[in-house]
């Protein structure tokens, strides 16, 4: 035993390699294995008449995804939702993350951290259905707005074409609210971690030099917290692109990429199309990751 530990101590690289083998093995089989199966499946196409998969390499399925207007609609819809959700999460997360790391007393800070993480421990489905109760036609939100006399305002918002609908729970606006709610902790936590690293001396210097709090925030805090914002946005963006449960429980009937994948591989039985569709978010996310990497997102993780 002692000889072994001495041997490993003298060869740190071998030691690290040995430690890395189990995670890499897991990563290789579970992640890369299924990813390549997916890519392979997307290179096949389905025979229109027999509805059977033809095992010959072809790009026909990809062509179908990027040229059929209905499919392009799905991609655009999902992408716009992901962008909107990411921006909203960033805007909402900034004040709370900044408050909890900068101003709150140690006790209040612990309270905030637990408060932010607590919803993450709750069942995903339970939260989605809770939002259905809140956003329903006779639900809590419309009741509350009626009480304060804003019922008419809600109706006006719901009449807006595109984001509106018969009720909040059947509109893109409602879906947007649920998405923002779901991914908010994924934005707040990396952002708080990045804000914590901003040295207080810089903020003091900024104040000494006569900057107003807003100026300090915009010109000192925000640029230094950008990696955290980028890291959080990777989560919100990619989680929205891949989700298929929220769009099927809350919101307007239009399809999202995740739902399309779910339906095509399930009831429709078109595995190649499902695979090609799931390559779309992977490509979009890779583009996004390349951008986020430049902003330093992975230094903050």
């Amino acid at each position: 035993m002692r000889a072994l530990s001495t041997f490993l101590y003298r060869r740190p690289n071998l030691y690290i390699l040995l430690l890395l083998i189990p995670p890499l093995l897991w990563f290789g089989t579970v992640y890369l294995g299924s990813l390549f199966t997916l890519l392979a499946q997307s290179m096949y196409a389905i025979d229109e008449f027999t509805a059977k998969v033809v095992y010959e390499p072809t790009l026909a399925t990809y062509k179908q995804v990027v040229t059929q207007p209905a499919n392009v609609d799905i991609i655009v819809r999902t992408l716009s939702m992901a962008v909107a959700v990411t921006i909203a999460c960033g805007l909402i997360a900034l004040p709370i993350a900044n408050y909890m790391v900068r101003y709150a007393s140690p006790r209040a800070r612990a309270f905030f951290y637990v408060g932010v993480m607590l919803p993450m421990w709750m069942s995903y489905l339970v939260k989605v259905y809770a939002w259905r109760l809140i956003l329903a036609k006779q639900g809590i939100l419309s009741w509350l707005l009626d009480v304060v006399g804003l019922g008419a305002a809600l109706d006006a918002v719901l009449r807006i074409p595109g984001i509106g609908g018969p009720s909040l729970s059947a509109s893109y606006l409602g879906m947007f609210i649920v998405f923002v709610y779901m991914w908010l902790p994924f934005m707040i936590l990396p952002l708080a971690a990045a804000l914590e690293k901003v040295p207080e001396s810089l903020l003091q210097a900024s104040a000494d030099l006569g900057a107003r709090p807003v100026q300090t925030f915009r010109r000192v805090t925000l640029p230094l917290a950008l990696p955290g914002l980028a890291a959080g946005s990777v989560f919100t963006f990619s989680l929205t692109l891949g989700d298929y449960i929220i769009p099927s429980v809350v919101g307007a009937p239009g399809y999202f990429i995740g739902m399309m994948v779910y339906q095509q591989q399930g009831t429709a039985g078109n595995i190649p199309l499902a695979a090609a569709f799931s390559v779309v978010p992977i490509v979009l996310i890779m583009i996004y990751l390349a951008i986020a990497r430049r902003a330093g997102a992975f230094d903050a993780l």
Binding site: L20, K127, G139, F235, I282, L289
Partner: protein, 126 residues
Amino acid sequence: MRYRRWNEPSLGVRLAAYAVLAFMHLPVLVIVLYAFTTADRTYEFPPPGLTLHWFEAAFARADIWAAMRLSLAVAAVATVFAIILGSLTVVTLLALPRIKGGWIGLMYALQITDRDARLHTADHAD
């Protein structure tokens, strides 16, 4: 003239922080409340009445207990594996300053993105 401490948060900042925190807990409260409502099929609010009937109904079902046992068992096994693989990864990441964790972090981030798609492919891979 009253001077503010240099880093005193404004009332707006304070309110915004607590408002976001409240927003994050709204559904939890809703679920708790609806566990007691007497309304059967509607999403009526405020609840017409309160009852403990749903707990009785839930606990009387044998399938709920079986599902809970299975969930607990799966959660325990998954936790053990995640702790082993996760701590091994973190230890090696810390020991490898040259790679900077950038690419490995990226790979892990990528994993989160298409979990559903891979789940289904794994289902059908044959």
